[in-house]
């Protein structure tokens, strides 16, 4: 019989596969902070913008929520991770800013430096 360690390794492998099948290897991974504080600051609205964009055909983007990293005064925060590039973290991402991030960063690859943390 499999030991718990063997079992958990199997579970991890399965989990990785599931995450990948959800599009984790997409070129751009977008993480939206969704803790109470972030939501209070408006991250739900930002999330909706990204979600809508994907539903409307934005491809190669993996959208996920995440907890609070602790940058209270800059919330809501959104992080964009691309392979081989320094991760970019945006602060105070309102719905409007989110829309621009979609247009400029996700679609055109431009890093909007004035909003980065």
């Amino acid at each position: 019989m499999a030991t718990p360690l063997e079992l958990i390794k199997k579970k991890r492998a399965e989990a990785i596969n599931r995450v990948i099948s959800k599009g984790y290897l997409s070129t751009k991974r977008v993480y939206v902070g969704m803790a109470t504080c972030e939501i209070a600051a408006g991250s739900k609205e930002a999330w909706d913008v990204f979600k809508t964009a994907i539903e409307q055909g934005l491809t190669n983007v993996y959208l996920s929520q995440k907890g609070c990293v602790g940058r209270c005064n800059l919330e809501p925060t959104v992080e964009v991770i691309e392979n081989d590039r320094m991760p970019v973290k945006y602060g105070k991402v309102t719905a409007k800013r989110a829309q621009e991030i979609v247009e400029r960063h996700l679609k055109k690859g431009e890093i909007i430096t004035e909003w980065t943390i």
Binding site: A35, C37, A40, A41, R71, C72, N73
Partner: protein, 162 residues
């Protein structure tokens, strides 16, 4: 006052879930939470009902309900208004905001406006310290609030409600 039968049966169902658990009496706080969720506050009739259903003396239920600040013993307005008095908010002037609201609504903490629209509450840190000072109306959080902004928001809500 007669309690709404549908809500009561929902409460019954909730109590039935806890009844078979070990130490089932200990779920009284959870049941009170449920009752408040259903009735908006804890009517005496509801507490009485729970006391008899759970076989817990009424004085004890009363003692528990009055101990915890989360429980409302009086009906609450349509829009509960709370100002966060956590340290971050306090340092950034939450007290002034609270005073302005008190004056605007002509009620003090724990009271409900005559028209039943607002109930004023004081709350501990809600964890939105980055937005301090913070006011909550219902579930919605208003950050970086000033006395003036607060009054304006409330006026707007009142207009929409009436």
């Amino acid at each position: 006052m007669n309690l709404d039968a549908t809500k009561l049966s929902e409460l019954d169902a909730f109590m039935a879930e806890t009844a078979h658990k070990t130490n089932s009496h200990s779920y009284v706080i959870a049941v009170l939470h449920k009752a408040q969720q259903l009735f908006g506050y804890l009517p005496r009739e509801a507490m009485d009902y729970i006391a008899h259903a759970m076989n817990i003396p009424t004085a004890h239920i009363w003692g528990v309900a009055t101990f915890y600040h989360f429980f409302n013993l009086k009906p609450v307005g349509k829009h509960p208004v709370s100002v966060c008095m956590g340290t971050a908010c306090y340092v950034k002037g939450a007290k002034l905001v609270l005073d302005a609201i008190k004056e605007e609504l002509r009620i003090t903490i724990g009271e409900t406006t005559e028209d039943g629209i607002f109930t004023l509450q004081e709350t501990r840190c809600i964890g939105a310290c980055g937005l301090a000072p913070v006011m909550m109306v219902g579930d919605k959080i208003y950050g970086d609030i000033t006395p003036k902004k607060a009054v304006k928001v409330l006026a707007q809500i009142r207009k929409e409600t009436v």
